[in-house]
Amino acid sequence: MYTEKVMDHFQHPRNVGEIENASGVGTVGNAKCGDIMRIYLDIDEDQIIRDVKFKTFGCGAAVATSSMATELVKGKNIREAMQVTNKAVMEALDGLPPVKVHCSLLAEEAIHAALWDYAEKNGIEIEGLEKPKSDIHEDEEEEEEEY
């Protein structure tokens, strides 16, 4: 079902983790649909992404696309990072099954959401960047059950 590259990134995800006091954090997706991605960016004064970490709740493709997206933006400046589209992520993974294309869109959105957070914190505008659509924190209160 998945390409070797997807399986590789699923089995050995790159850049997993958190960044304390990150320059920007973005969480996108929805637990209801089964995918949530969170991306942490560490951006220096030259607007270069020095470090990036992620955590993902989701299927194999969701994990692999977020892992690949972090690889693609690492070391880039924020304008270059804007060029990391879902297509770029998919191509870098040698493709995804059609039902999993939305995972790559989510990866792109997660990067954008983290950049948005960074832009807001620093009072700057990034060309072409729009406010992220979905954010998990909106429906966080729903889920309080304990098992």
Partner: protein, 398 residues
Amino acid sequence: MEKLIYLDNAATTKTSPEVVSAMLPFFTEHYGNPSSVYGFAAANKEVITRQREIIADVLGAKSNEIYFTAGGTEADNWALIATAEAYAAKGKHIITSKIEHHAILHTCEYLEKRGYEVTYLDVDENGLIDPAAVEAAIRPDTILITIMYANNEIGTIEPIAEIGRIAREHSVLFHTDAVQAFAHVPINVDECCIDMLSASGHKLNGPKGIGFLYIRKGVKIRSFIHGGAQERKRRAGTENVPGIAGLGKAVELAAASMKERMDYETKLRDHMIGRIENEIPHCRLNGDRTKRLPNNLNFSFRFIEGESMLIKLDLKGICASSGSACTSGSLDPSHVLLAIGLPHEIAHGSLRISLSEETTMEEADYVVDTLKEIVKEIRDISPLYEDFVKKEAKSSKR
């Protein structure tokens, strides 16, 4: 571990070698069409009759009440659509549950589009249907109650005898989809007042592409597949003789070993349930603890998604299944898990393990050990788990 550990026996089972041996002569030696006159072919008619008797015996039915089909799905379609057509003059109301297999649910939707009304009963948190709710749903125009014997995902065994009695008292036909239960647990059609019952060969170590519908004498449903006069003019098409021979053998073997198998699988199942509940935090057993198929385990693990669990298990040689959206081919997780009240995010993290008599205790322990590691690995990269841990830390500081 190199060996494949197959724990998806609710999806399909290995065709047992004895079954294959029973089928083989009907491909190259006794390949005649049972409807032909000459002795060479007509002998196959006897073979079919014999298999019908074997199956009828196991159900406490008569052999002329067993009709071979191409599987459980056809049997379900036949029972529902033909009943709807035959009894339309009496009414157009059908009662079923929210946790049926899609072979039932999608057939009900088909009938709804054609002017029938369907009541989909709720289930409780363990997936049990309340017989009182069945009774309350019966109307003067109710023509059929169809409730599965045991659920394919969570293994819950429904109160079929009670529901059957209610149906009988109200003179409503009662069909049960017993695809997961037949030859796994004892079923008697008279004791349970079952009028129709669907079953499938490949869930009981028989071949794929063969099943049957039991139709109680007196139930006036007509043919669903039109053509020749096979199956007492009720199911056309040249008989699948190898399939029927295989199904008969599989039923014979399954019936002979049922008691032992139930005891063994129940022991294995409860051992695994106990270990998972003790050793993996934030999990939930789905389905009833005791009114449960002996070979079924279904767990939800919080903060993780099912497909990634399945891939990681596969990489360790373990075959299982999940009710997550990614494995259902839609955006929604399993309708069964939603019907028992699980929130979407917890339904996505479900895992179904279905054992067989060949599963060993060593394999069971290996699977639990592996699962423990996998759940931890996936939680370590889960933002939901991260949030949960931070929240816990905050509340313990308070």
